[in-house]
Symmetry: C2
Subunit: 108 residues, 2 copies
């Protein structure tokens, strides 16, 4: 339960940054090398690598080194965590609305 919370924290922290979301958006279209990934961003390669580390730790991206090239891939794990957290909240408030609806129907 605690590790689940840590994971939720990491995923939403990672997605809270617009540059990291832009990286995720690009990788959804297909794997890209780190240097190619860095091209459209007006930041240093070192800054991109740092963002990638945050994304890797949260399970949103994985990187793989073949020879001298490191390639970045999208990873579903982190997205599952974010979706689950949102779905859990939604299920709670929808249940509450259902109960409220029933109560109101009984008053009629």
């Amino acid at each position: 339960m605690l590790s689940q919370r840590v994971h939720v924290d990491r995923v939403f922290h990672a997605l809270g940054d617009p540059t990291r979301r832009a990286i995720v958006e690009q990788l959804s279209d297909g794997p890209v090398s780190v240097s190619k990934l860095a091209e459209p961003f007006a930041i240093t390669l070192a800054a991109v690598v740092q963002h990638l580390q945050v994304l890797e730790k949260s399970g949103l991206v994985r990187t793989q080194k073949t020879g001298r090239v490191r390639t970045c891939h999208i990873e579903a794990k982190g997205f599952n965590v974010a979706e689950r957290w949102i779905a859990d909240r939604r299920s709670l408030w929808e249940k509450r609305f259902d109960r409220l609806g029933k109560l109101l129907a009984e008053q009629d």
Copy 2:
């Protein structure tokens, strides 16, 4: 399209903070007054109000004042934006995997 991006930015920025997610978690259980909401948090009422403003601007929470009491409610709009953004990414990479699967099947 630009306003959609602004909204996505706001929602993920809002959800990127653990205190704001804890507020959202509590409000999923039902509406609460601002002062009651602030109780479990080891931060000032002013800080809670600031977090609530960020959550309101991103459509995750709405507040309503009746007399001297301001009550906070969960709001679906912001959640829809976050879910849509994640679903759009997922749909992109799943389509890509499908194409890859077909290509591999053709090679057999």
